[in-house]
Symmetry: C5
Subunit: 104 residues, 5 copies
Amino acid sequence: MQLARVIGTVVSNQKDPSLSGLTFLLLRLLDVNNEEQGSYVVAIDAVGAGVDEVVMFATGSSARQTLVTQNRPCDAVVMAIVDEWEVEGTPKYRKTSSDDLWAS
Amino acid sequence: MQLARVIGTVVSNQKDPSLSGLTFLLLRLLDVNNEEQGSYVVAIDAVGAGVDEVVMFATGSSARQTLVTQNRPCDAVVMAIVDEWEVEGTPKYRKTSSDDLWAS
Amino acid sequence: MQLARVIGTVVSNQKDPSLSGLTFLLLRLLDVNNEEQGSYVVAIDAVGAGVDEVVMFATGSSARQTLVTQNRPCDAVVMAIVDEWEVEGTPKYRKTSSDDLWAS
Amino acid sequence: MQLARVIGTVVSNQKDPSLSGLTFLLLRLLDVNNEEQGSYVVAIDAVGAGVDEVVMFATGSSARQTLVTQNRPCDAVVMAIVDEWEVEGTPKYRKTSSDDLWAS
Amino acid sequence: MQLARVIGTVVSNQKDPSLSGLTFLLLRLLDVNNEEQGSYVVAIDAVGAGVDEVVMFATGSSARQTLVTQNRPCDAVVMAIVDEWEVEGTPKYRKTSSDDLWAS
């Protein structure tokens, strides 16, 4: 899997019938320091991710191992929204939630 | 998936029998700003895409998950024609249609 | 799929038994302008391609979707000999055939 | 497979249900001289690897061939902890164990 | 497939149980002129290859299509020892055998 930030969405009306109703997310890849890389991928959303969220995506046949994507022509799936990660004991990313009222 | 523009077609008469009647499209990869990249891929068309259209394609075993491509030696399929996408709320591509008479 | 030119062959006697009798072709990758790239791949021939011919090859599990390669440890197959391709309406490659006597 | 060092972990609460309870490891890729490369991957742990350990990981559909990962949207798995490797007869890495009391 | 030279071995005791007894070979990739490239891969041996031998390896799900590797978390397999290859009619590599007593 790779880490990425959702930067947008792709709209398509004329597509393989099995893809009807699915959301195509534009992902910008992140390095382990949470810095954006040049490359991107379009992935189908399996976890309700929104723009600006940091996520993990899986590729290849593994991208079809969710209920949302099985048997579909999909080679990348967002299968997790990331809460945090750390490198050598140092936090590199932590999700901040507007729902997290008790944190203030 | 990746975004791409259809730039041409490939013709082959001597090929695996399972590929008979399929259309091979030459795709130029696009970045998220709709600028053409150096790399290309040859993909089988599953959605009736034509030259100059902007599309999405899927690779690997996922490229065989359409009725057109199943069980065929095909590692890339055009599975959607793109209508539009946006990045950080800014439209980066919007399809213009010559059929779209009421838009003028 | 990618476009390539057959530049040679690889001989192996000590190999997985399922590969017995198959032909390993050395392919030089081509760009869309028919210029050779630095990278190569070794692919199994499924269509009777010869040295100097321009072909398409498929990779991954899709490389096992021919009668020649099914269930074999093969991750690249030549599944088509290319007759021609064009980019933006301009022919970039056209096969010339020594059998094509009536063309002179 | 590739060699890598475990440099951290990724935490996700909102994810595909099939991934519940699994550990996501951040891996820094190593070259054959045991020097860290720029690239990374997030892999699911199938062997109880911890931070700082040197491991091997497998990708693609092969990443689903462990009891831990089968049928899950997982494209990279840590399937071995490395004890040592050598290149041209020269050891390039040897695991040191704090349990290895009799070695002192 | 790609061409490679076996440059070493990797030892792992703590690994997925299905990998027990298999040999992990360190491979240095070769170009078509038999020159070593910077990249490497760790592959499971399916043909009895030894250090310094020139081999071919297959990747992805195709790496599991040998008796040795089937159903295992293995994404690269040495499936052939190379005897020779040629490019544009010129031999670029020919195996020399110490068993080949009658050749002297």
